[in-house]
Symmetry: C2
Subunit: 398 residues, 2 copies
């Protein structure tokens, strides 16, 4: 296990003129990825053709890479698989959890959850009927809102806007004490901080691989099902690769044992190859060291912003235990400020209505990134560089 | 529009020692694909990072490439989008069609449908309750089984095992006359033969891109929603990229207009880049010429097999109107025969229980492929080359 973050930084192909603090939206390209994907294209697909499903081990990639992600999130071996998108995997986890709690109808979540998770819950509730409803409360009100009507507590551990972190162990225990199951979204947790799903006794979890895990745009999602549920939780989307024997081509669905049943269709092999290259880096990372480094960087970012940018209001908790691996700041002109900052070579993110968001990823971010980013941010604010029309034009993707 | 299939064959990177008749399972690698994917990796992801969603047009890829597939399947512009897997897109189409027919409960399909479509329907029916059931009949009995209990007729146009083709226009008309909607699976149609969704007045369709469309392993699926349904059909999986304004991050789901609502999560950009390279070939292909060539090749294959391989029984219809772009043959030792044939450089497919399946794709298959494949097949049978233990060992993926 390395804690040599200078070494890991050298494994990424970062443009020399850019300070990249948006790896919590799309992680950067590992240097090894293009060759790894090219190998899959030319040697596997090109030369082995259909036989690569066996000869190149394509069919087992979701399980094999799932286990490598499992180490990062404290999952038992064999409890994680890969495929589809995070929204689809949240849907499957939620549908499974609801099926395991037939007498209850409330999905409890918070207003800070990522909208897609809320949309997925709304759509599932509308489809199921039978009294299934989504109830959202403020993040700080979640614990008190858990009662014996709750079937599923569905939360994102780290808030995508503020970086506020829920206490997964405490909330899981509280939900289970009330007879509910939990679905944890790890989008801003996996690769950002140590997660201990087994230790927290979590029921279901899902996350994406294109943020801190650096698997590239549209990398597949992962899903975790606690071993105690894995042979009883229905897949919801009962596709052939979640069948007990996909290549028997039986007319009747029979779920595979374990988390394999959560597979649906043909896995995206090019995206999985890119993920594999990224996991080669992750395999050597000590998660406690990563966390310590992340807190150093976010502490430094907060301290410097507060010294240099009095107009910005901190959105991220100061308390380490309640913080993910990002720093978020409120400003009414947040969108334009971020555009002006990007024009000066610092890439962060804007999130409506007024949040400037900076991801700090120890694998490739350093003190120098923090210092230069805050210097330029201070300059943008001091000189009102954001007050130009081109920085107010909205792009389709913000 | 070209009919120069010698030119298109030269655009594929086929191993020189292989006769590839399995493009109906996984199409081969276009020569342009590795550079196209490498560009997305290094110039787009690597250099533009998060800004590539706008600057490289990533976010619009599903619509842009969907329209290019649309030409091949007779879809109206703006009626096709891409993402997820075929099983997921069949689920969405089926859920939407059922929602549009709330008073009826029967999903009618045939026993020759691809198992995943049947599994998906079984899972959806179990989840919905309210009398939704899957009814399957023999392929030739479908038309007579359409009655006023049927909510949705769900069929795969070309049978994955036999190559038998349904009459899409006639069955769609018959279903609609009985008050039902249609969901067509085009897995073995798109890129295999001309499809005329608009002309057939089809309601929903979905297909995959990794077979005849040559987008590579795990390429994204496409979904078609007839424009008359597109603003009323629910997405089922209500993910953020199907929202009217994904980057407003509203807490409440509001579906996008049109087929865009069928998008769910972040699109798989590496797979889409590979698809784009493949569609550069397809853009120049005249579908009527492709069909004529496909029938020449399948006719030739059938004639030569019947002359040289008396032990094989034809599973594919002789009638052109009822045939896809493959030839399938029954033999009780089908699995071992196919393994022996693969060992002799001819790659086809086995499908349980007893079918040898050969896809004939005019973009890269020729008379020489047909003749050499049948010669070797005849030799395998004549000399009982299949009767060796190693050809009877089952691989995980068959």
């Amino acid at each position: 296990m390395t804690t040599d973050f200078a070494r890991t930084r050298a494994l990424f192909d970062l443009p020399p003129d850019v300070i990249y603090l948006d790896g919590n939206s799309l992680g950067p390209l590992p240097r090894a990825t293009p060759d790894r994907v090219a190998r899959t294209l030319t040697q596997e697909w090109g030369q082995m053709l259909i036989t690569a499903w066996n000869r190149a081990g394509w069919m087992e990639m979701p399980a094999r890479l799932g286990d490598r992600i499992g180490r990062l999130i404290g999952a038992e071996p064999g409890s994680v698989t890969l495929g589809d998108t995070l929204s689809v995997k949240i849907w499957q986890a939620l549908a499974a959890a609801l099926a395991l709690k037939p007498g209850r109808g409330v999905i409890l979540s918070d207003t800070g959850n990522f909208p897609s998770d809320l949309y997925i819950a709304q759509g599932l509730a509308a489809m199921l009927g039978r009294g299934v409803t989504l109830r959202t409360v403020a993040p700080e009100a979640v614990e008190a809102a858990i009662d014996d009507t709750v079937a599923v507590l569905m939360l994102t551990e780290v808030d995508y806007r503020t970086g506020r972190r829920h206490d997964m162990a405490a909330l899981t225990a509280r939900a289970q004490a009330a007879g509910a199951l939990t679905v944890w979204d790890l989008a801003h947790s996996a690769g950002a901080l140590p997660v201990d799903l087994a230790g927290c006794n979590a029921d279901f979890a899902a996350g994406c691989t294109y943020k801190y895990l650096n698997a590239g745009p549209g990398g597949p999602a992962f899903i975790y099902v606690a071993p105690r549920h894995a042979d009883t939780a229905p897949a919801g989307l009962s596709g052939w690769l979640g069948h007990e024997a996909p290549f028997a081509f039986d007319p009747d669905y029979r779920p595979a044992r374990g988390v394999e049943r959560m597979r649906v269709g043909t896995p995206p092999i090019l995206q999985l190859a890119a993920l594999e290259a990224s996991l080669d880096i992750w395999d050597s990372v000590d998660m406690a060291a990563l966390r310590a480094r992340s807190l150093e960087l976010t502490d430094r970012f907060i301290a410097r912003v507060e010294a240099a940018c009095p107009d910005l209001r901190l959105a991220t908790p100061r308390d380490h235990a309640r913080r993910g691996s990002q720093v978020s700041l409120h400003h009414p002109q947040g969108y334009a400020i971020m555009q002006a900052l990007i024009a000066r070579g610092v890439i962060g993110d804007f999130r409506a209505p007024d949040i400037l968001r900076f991801g700090l990823a120890p694998l490739y971010n350093t003190e120098a990134c923090v210092d230069a980013a805050v210097d330029r941010l201070a300059q943008v604010l001091r000189d009102r560089l954001w007050d130009r029309p081109e920085f107010h034009r909205r792009a389709r993707v913000t």
